[in-house]
């Protein structure tokens, strides 16, 4: 036991002192916090530049219907040749030129926007929205309804569903599907990456020890099993330390960031930028929408976020990371023991990485129905449960399922590390050949 501890200690100290570890550990929270805060920050960004859009209305019907806003100034030009203005937009100081031409349909004018560069989305939207509204109003007026203004004012409705999660005890908590989804995405992707990366680091470590023949020296004082588990647990302790630093730093940074933004956002919500983001990436959109609704609807997203059971989430992440990592690291260590060169590992690691990749595919569809049979079964299978259970966790998982999944995972880990140790024990002393899984499985039955 004392020796395993020595090996863990060596593994921990050498890895923690590496520059790459320090940099990744300290910089990642900045990155995570940025992900949390950036959408809100972008949303709060104020466009301070005033842009002037010239409008030439050849129909005469749409004069002065587009209002100026704080940052978009609308100038109607009369008795001017569109062609001349078009050619001299920059000199005239115009950001863009909107030409309104008539068509057969009075309600369907031909609209063309000329500009030297791609016009900003907020300008486009301002123009489109106001014109759309104007035409709609005109059409409505065409029906000659009495008291139209009053009716319109009355009809105007905004629906917002407040979703509350009810626990058995009848306690009501504000919840948000979008917040849950965002957390599920982030946690299961992070889990996938960390299990894969740290598992492979263990493999690379084993290969290094074998190829530079340190194994030969150490193996006379330590049992192969101790050497392998020491390495795996050493790496685990490094990763857990890293996660804890990440959680604390991210929480602190994001907390500060969100506080600052909240003060800013209270003043001015702008939707345009958010829509820009939404077009750029649909995933970001969900997180973004969460933020935008949060600002619009009195920060109820913040409430939903805070109502997530963070102790359970972080605890669940640590538990599933630990055992998911241990499970995969044991398999990666077995592969590492059978080769002398990292380039020889590709074929051997494929069967190991496959379940993880499958988990990510299942996660993407499972996130839509976290209690469905697909998500349920894959959160029980130990090779995918670390990822899929974390997808389900933010939506709430019955305790018995959590307990069952966790027990299966732990039991499988015990079995796999036992098998992996048998392969490792033979593998680290084998040189000069490329081995296949078939041969490695045979080693399990070798006598010590």
């Amino acid at each position: 036991m004392n020796k395993i501890f020595l090996i863990i200690q060596r593994e921990f100290m050498t890895r923690v002192r590496k520059k790459s570890f320090i940099i990744i550990t300290l910089l990642s929270p900045l990155f995570f916090a940025a992900i949390a805060v950036l959408p809100s920050y972008l949303a709060s960004l104020e466009v301070t530049e005033v842009r002037t859009v010239a409008v030439i209305d050849n129909t005469g019907a749409y004069t002065n219907v587009i209002p100026s806003t704080e940052y978009i100034k609308i100038t109607y030009l009369k008795d001017t040749q569109g062609d001349i203005v078009k050619r001299n937009l920059d000199e005239a100081g115009y950001y863009a030129l909107l030409v309104i031409d008539s068509t057969k349909n009075a309600y369907q004018p031909a609209l063309t926007l000329f500009s030297p560069k791609q016009p900003a989305i907020d300008v486009m939207q301002h123009l489109e929205n106001t014109l759309e509204k104007e035409i709609e109003t005109r059409k409505l007026k065409g029906y000659n309804i009495d008291n139209l203004d009053k009716i319109m004012a009355d009809v105007k409705t905004k629906v917002s569903i407040k979703s509350l999660k009810i626990s058995k005890s009848g306690e009501e908590k504000e919840s948000s599907t979008i917040v849950a989804m965002a957390i599920a995405y982030i946690m299961s992707l992070l889990m996938y990456m960390m299990v894969l990366i740290t598992g492979q680091q263990v493999m690379v470590g084993v290969i290094e020890e074998k190829s530079n023949r340190v194994v030969e020296v150490i193996i006379s004082s330590v049992k192969p099993f101790q050497m392998m588990t020491g390495k795996i647990f050493g790496m685990a302790s490094v990763s857990i330390l890293q996660i804890i630093i990440w959680v604390v730093m991210t929480a602190a940074l994001a907390g500060v960031g969100i506080n600052i933004l909240n003060q800013k956002m209270a003043v001015k919500p702008t939707t345009e930028q958010m829509q820009t983001m939404a077009q750029a990436s649909p995933e970001a959109a969900q997180a973004l929408e969460a933020v935008s609704q949060g600002t619009n609807d009195g920060n109820n997203i913040m409430a939903a976020l805070l109502n997530q059971n963070f102790a359970l989430l972080i605890g669940g992440f640590l538990f599933y990371f630990l055992f998911g990592y241990l499970l995969y690291a044991a398999m990666f260590a077995a592969v590492g023991s059978a080769v002398e060169n990292i380039t020889d590992t590709q074929q051997l690691t494929l069967p190991i990485t496959l379940p993880l990749i499958l988990a990510i595919i299942v996660m993407i569809s499972g996130i839509k129905s976290p209690d469905g049979p697909l998500a349920f079964w894959f959160s029980m299978i130990p090779f995918t449960s670390p990822v899929i259970m974390l997808t389900r966790l933010p939506f709430g998982v019955p305790a018995w399922q959590l307990a069952l999944s966790a027990s299966i995972l732990v039991a499988t880990f015990v079995l796999i590390i036992w098998l992996a140790a048998k392969i490792y024990r033979v593998g680290i002393l084998m040189y000069g050949k490329k081995y296949t899984w078939k041969e490695m499985i045979k080693w399990i039955n070798y006598k010590a």
Binding site: T14, N212, V217, S221, Y446, K447
Partner: protein
């Protein structure tokens, strides 16, 4: 008193027999040479003694009792294929390896300090292994092998990678350890160093122990009773005096001092030989020619292979 005794060790690998009924007895305080061609099974035997792997049959006695896990603290092993963590600092690494051999941190530190001074390598303490030359790394490796002062040391090709000065340093250390009572198993292909250092040898070939014994006795027994006589006088006269009674192999007359090599039927005939030649020439020297370990190795292995077929299994 034997420190290590193996009895009828047998070890199979998936498709060949690595050791077949190998028994050796390593006397306490001796240097025991483990010889044999590549792939003969020496490393497997060493690994069994180190409990890296177990025998399929037979047993190993250490200090009179069957080998048990804690015995590894009393054994030091320098493998032939050896390496250290390249990115780790020399001092830290030595400390780690010493602690794995059961030393407390404080004790390990104290002893390492002593040895680093003795080997004059204090300046390396904070260097990484990758900054050292191969010979330097070997020195560190030798040092951590003996740091826990084990009763049994197993050296597999300990001199590889060393320059002559460091070979001498390591040789001296090995002899010093022997004087302190340490038992040493020494595996090498360098027959000159076997003759120089070993008290006993075992020759393993094709998984079997084909020759064991005290090195002088082995060499004597393979001595072909050839004596070399250098003399003053007429070579022809000498030749005549031997005629018919002794087998004259060669007579070298090119030097001012002629040398004749004569084979006797038994060693006990040396006096008769002398009696025969004393009247005709002046004898300057009379020496038995003992075969070198090198010659014995080649002779024994070749004879065995001829008798048992060229291929194993």
């Amino acid at each position: 008193m034997y420190l290590i005794e193996t009895k009828g060790i047998e070890k199979h690998y998936s498709n060949h027999l690595a050791l077949d009924d190998v028994s050796i007895k390593v006397p306490q305080g001796s240097i025991y040479g483990l010889l044999g061609p590549n792939g003969a099974g020496k490393t497997t035997l060493i690994r069994i003694i180190n409990q890296i792997t177990g025998p399929d049959k037979g047993e190993v006695l250490f200090d009179g009792h069957p080998l048990k896990p804690n015995d590894i603290y009393r054994i030091g092993y320098l493998p032939e294929e050896r390496g250290l963590y390249k990115k780790m600092k020399v001092g830290e690494q030595a400390l780690f390896l010493a602690q794995l051999k059961g030393l407390s941190r404080a004790e390990a530190l104290k002893r390492l300090k002593y040895w680093f001074e003795r080997f004059e390598i204090q300046a390396w303490w904070n260097k990484k292994i990758e900054e050292l030359s191969k010979g330097m790394a070997q020195k560190v490796q030798f040092l951590v092998t003996i740091i826990h002062e084990p009763e049994l040391l197993i050296f597999d090709e300990p001199f590889s990678g060393f320059d002559p000065i460091n070979v001498q340093l390591v040789k001296d250390e090995i002899l010093a350890l022997k004087r302190k009572g340490t038992t040493i198993i020494f595996s090498t292909h360098n027959m000159a160093s076997v003759e120089e250092l070993c008290d006993h040898i075992t020759l393993i070939n094709k998984s079997r122990n084909i020759l064991s014994g005290q090195i002088d006795e082995v060499r004597q027994s393979y001595g072909s009773n050839v004596f070399e006589i250098s003399f003053r006088g007429e070579p022809a006269a000498l030749q005549q005096s031997l005629d018919g009674k002794f087998d004259l192999l060669n007579i070298d007359t090119e030097n001012s001092l002629p040398k004749a090599q004569v084979r006797l039927n038994t060693q006990l005939e040396s006096n008769k030989l002398l009696q025969a030649i004393i009247p005709v020439v002046d004898i300057v020297s009379f020496n038995p020619i003992v075969p070198s370990m090198h010659d014995i190795f080649i002779q024994v292995v070749q004879e065995y292979n001829q008798k048992h077929g060229a291929t194993n299994n």
